[in-house]
């Protein structure tokens, strides 16, 4: 697989343990006290979205559901709030993945933004329906920052798959 479909660079296959590790690190990042700050991105949603776009055969809705339950318990939110949003995110991301990967990174980020905003809006909607207080507009800034982070996240998460460029003048391609 390539970084984007229009790229001529071939990547190494992804290692499953790296996917687990990255999702776990995203969970820990979410648990950090910085999660209280306004505009902090939902790291789990970002990493989950990344792997759903790139490796939808390995990371699918089952993972999204489990991570959602873990986030629900950790947040003290209503069970099902994160899991519903993450499952929808994983589904939409994997069904759009063949299109998204044709674009360069900046345009990929633009395509990702509505998905991440939607995750947040779904959560806010089902909580507001059940009678919670409005958390303020700062709650919806997080996905926008996560969108910007899509570019560095792609580089970091693809890092183990890059292989050194081999220059061989005798090779036809």
């Amino acid at each position: 697989m390539q970084p984007t479909f229009s790229s001529s660079r071939i990547l190494l296959p992804v290692r499953p343990w790296f996917i687990f590790l990255s999702l776990f690190v995203a969970l820990v990042l979410n648990f950090l006290p910085t999660g209280q700050w306004p505009g902090m991105p939902d790291w789990v949603a970002l990493v989950l979205c990344f792997w759903s776009v790139r490796e939808f055969r390995r990371v699918g809705m089952g993972w999204a559901f489990l991570l959602g339950i873990v986030m629900d318990v950790a947040d003290g939110a209503v069970l099902g709030q994160h899991s519903l949003a993450y499952v929808l995110l994983a589904y939409v991301a994997s069904s759009l993945s063949r299109r998204i990967l044709w674009f360069p990174l900046l345009q990929q980020a633009l395509q990702i933004m509505p998905l991440l905003v939607l995750t947040q809006v779904i959560q806010a909607a089902i909580r507001l329906v059940s009678g919670a207080e409005f958390p303020g507009w700062g709650y919806f800034v997080g996905p926008l920052i996560a969108t910007v982070l899509w570019i560095p996240a792609t580089f970091v998460l693809l890092l183990p798959q890059f292989q050194p460029v081999e220059r061989d003048d005798n090779r036809p391609i």
Partner: protein, 313 residues
């Protein structure tokens, strides 16, 4: 017979269709949501997941607490001395009251016994460290480090050194979740100290409380202190809850809008005390019987008076 295998070759196996999976997971999520919200019967699921998640969460909180420790270390001798002097001063200020408290309590006990009034319940509890604030932006909760292992149960009130902080709403094996009194779903039965007026203070979700359903002419002024009335059987009476900051009386509405700020440092924390559950209140008298009986008794007592008054004339 084991010649032809009718199953498709394994390289076409991709599991159920994505749309089917999506429907399944969405249905399960919504079912969980409804069951958790309406029936609150998923505590066991929550506790078992929390058992795995809780250690990770505590580890993730350590950088923050390390920063706190470093800050406290670097704060220096001078500021600590100043604080110490201030605390000593405060203690001296409250010394006259404190020193006579024991004697007053003993006297109160004696008088209550003389009046054959039920003895006042003593407040006991355990100190709990606040681990972190709950990440959920839709509610106001904190997580403390005492749980089922320390016999904490849901419903116990939590106080700090100045007043009521909140109430334990969920209990995990090693931690418990305290919903603050400023949460939108939290209500505390209160009493105005100045007038003895009883009401209920509801959290507003923005760090304030509101006394709802008070008549527009209710005798409440800005600056009034609200304490727990103890009528709910959960909070012991007499703990400070909030101070009235603003009273809006609009003749268009039948109720006054009374805004209060919490007395306790509800949104900035160190330690809280989780009070033991109260002794069960005596059972309520059967309503219908007592009402009719009371009515008859009143009538009975009123009639002779009227007759006497008539005779007097």
């Amino acid at each position: 017979m084991a010649g032809i295998d009718h199953a498709p070759p394994p390289f076409f196996k991709q599991g159920p269709a994505p749309l089917a999976l999506l429907t399944f997971y969405v249905a399960v999520s919504i079912a969980l949501f409804v069951v958790d919200l309406r029936f609150k019967s998923l505590d066991l699921v929550r506790q078992s997941v929390a058992l795995v998640v809780d250690p990770v969460q505590r580890v993730a909180q350590t950088p923050g607490s390390l920063v706190d420790i470093a800050q406290a270390y670097l704060e220096g001798l001078h500021s600590l001395r100043a604080e110490n002097a201030q605390l000593k001063h405060a203690q001296l200020n409250s010394a006259p009251d404190l020193q006579r408290l024991q004697q007053l309590e003993a006297e109160n006990d004696r008088l209550r016994r003389l009046l054959t009034v039920k003895e006042r319940e003593k407040a006991k509890g355990q100190v709990a460290q606040i681990l972190y604030t709950s990440r959920d932006p839709f509610s106001r909760r904190i997580v403390v480090d005492k749980g089922q292992q320390h016999a904490v149960t849901a419903g116990q009130p939590a106080i700090d050194e100045t007043g009521v902080v909140g109430q334990v709403t969920r209990v995990f094996p090693f931690s418990a979740e305290v919903t603050l009194i400023t949460d939108k779903d939290q209500a505390v039965p209160v009493q105005v100290v100045r007038t003895g007026l009883r009401s209920v203070a509801f959290g507003l979700g923005n760090g304030q409380l509101e006394m709802k359903f008070m008549p527009a002419n209710a005798d409440v002024q800005p600056g009034d202190l609200l304490v727990t009335s103890g009528l709910d059987g959960i909070y012991l009476p007499g703990f400070p809850v909030a101070k009235v900051v603003n009273v809006e009386r609009d003749s268009a509405y039948s109720f006054a809008r009374i805004y209060c700020t919490p007395v306790a440092g509800v949104e900035n924390f160190g330690e809280v005390m989780i009070l033991d559950p109260r002794q069960a209140l005596p059972p309520q008298p059967p309503e219908a019987v007592s009402r009719s009986a009371g009515g008859e008794a009143e009538k009975g007592s009123l009639r002779p008076k009227k007759k006497k008054a008539a005779k007097g004339h």
